[in-house]
């Protein structure tokens, strides 16, 4: 995993696993806030999950809020399976498939903009970047959006 500073956030890339040392991220929080861009996280295994949970627990003990942005699908998969991995999420990627050309694409969903629809388990409409046809959400909304359920505003 690599960490690079972004626009008021830390951008994580690659794999979150046994070698990630996530607790060190807390030392880079500003004003007791840690904002993580997870769009480029391609993999997270159970060892990375353990490290992630410890990092969140340590953040809570130290009064540091953790906010997630542009969360990739591999991370969402873990957030949905393991409640303890969840943190306030501003935006995330969701799976869509094109009804016209069959292309599958990970599309960015803004929680603030689409909050009411997401609460009703209605994925926002998306247009295929290849053929312009309407895309369909490619998972069960009840399953894929479950990580949002306990989220505080």
């Amino acid at each position: 995993m690599t960490v690079t500073p972004g626009n008021g956030e830390l951008v994580l890339s690659g794999s979150i696993d046994e070698s990630s040392e996530l607790d060190k991220l807390l030392g880079r929080a500003h004003d007791n806030a840690l904002v993580l861009d997870l769009a480029a996280v391609t993999f997270i295994n159970s060892l990375g999950v353990r490290d992630w949970i410890r990092m969140l627990a340590s953040a809570a003990q130290r009064g540091i809020s953790v906010e997630l942005r542009r969360v990739s699908e591999p991370v969402i998969h873990q957030l949905n399976m393991i409640v303890a991995t969840r943190a306030h999420t501003r935006s995330f990627y969701g799976p869509y498939a094109c009804d016209g050309c069959g292309r599958e694409e990970s599309m960015l969903i803004d929680v603030d903009v689409n909050g009411p629809a997401l609460a009703r388990l209605q994925p926002p409409p998306m247009t295929c970047p290849e053929c312009g046809s309407a895309m369909a959400f490619n998972d069960f909304p009840e399953r894929y959006f479950s990580f949002l359920v306990p989220q505080a505003p």
């Binding site: 794999s15 696993d17 046994e18 070698s19 391609t42 993999f43 295994n45 159970s46 060892l47 999950v49 353990r50 949970i53 699908e73 591999p74 998969h77 873990q78 399976m81 393991i82 409640v83 303890a84 991995t85 799976p95 498939a97 599958e104 990970s106 369909a136 959400f137 490619n138 998972d139 069960f140 399953r143």
Partner: protein, 309 residues
Amino acid sequence: MATTPILIVHPDRKTQRLVHRILGVTGYRVELADNFAQATGLLDSLRPRLVITDAAMSLDPAYATFFEQARAHGADACMTLLGTPAPVPQIVGAGAVTNLLVHPMPVLAEELTITAHKLMLGDLFGVEKYLLWGTRLHETTLERASQRMAIVAELEAELGRRGQSARVARMVRLVADELISNAVHNAPVDDAGVHYLADRARDAELTLAGRQRVRVRWGCDARYVAVEVNDDFGSLDRDTALASLGKQAIREGGGGAGLGVAIAYRSCDHLVFNLAPGRRTEVIALVDVRYPPSEQPPASSYNVFVEKT
């Protein structure tokens, strides 16, 4: 025709006939019962090797008692078919159901037949049983723990090059990673049964010699990407495998032993444990490539097979 029977317990006559046809046509003797009370009365005389029922019947108060009795009568491989949403954690947690086949259709005939064949013939091992004839298998043996990350990353990349969706490739990588990690660090035991590598840092290099070597095979046909992971210790037992599948902490808290297996189970469509105590453990994960996630059942199948000595 085999004399050791398969007992189907189901209240619906049409389902009874359907399952009867699937298994009967392969040559097995099939007996029918409408409910657990009737089935319990047949256990002494039939001594079935396999009992099949439906997960919806897990709501019957007699469910757990029947499966305990069936196991005591030698039907240590009981199977539940899941046609409707059912409490999978409770089924797993009860510890009696060693085979659960989840399916969107009335019956998943192929997996039902494979499960019956493996049990009735006592031939458990090999991912070939789940793949179409002619499917090419790729094999790698780990001799260092650090090979794991490169192997699973290459597996994901190779599936992408073959045109599989990013989701399928990601899930296969995750499942393979968890199974290999378990085989490398959790499987090895010493003469006292101590898992001597379990607490070793996972990012520390380990040279794997002799029985510590882990064999990985994988293949893909038009139905599944299948990954098979083998170790030569055979330290995983039936109850531990079932407990790992049903691990509740994965939802509530996370962490603790067995998290990797629980994640693997929830990330594939079918997880198979082939256990030869003290000799070999083989875990097979199947990821279905036929259906998008929105058309797949909300739970995964599993089998826990134990070799008879």
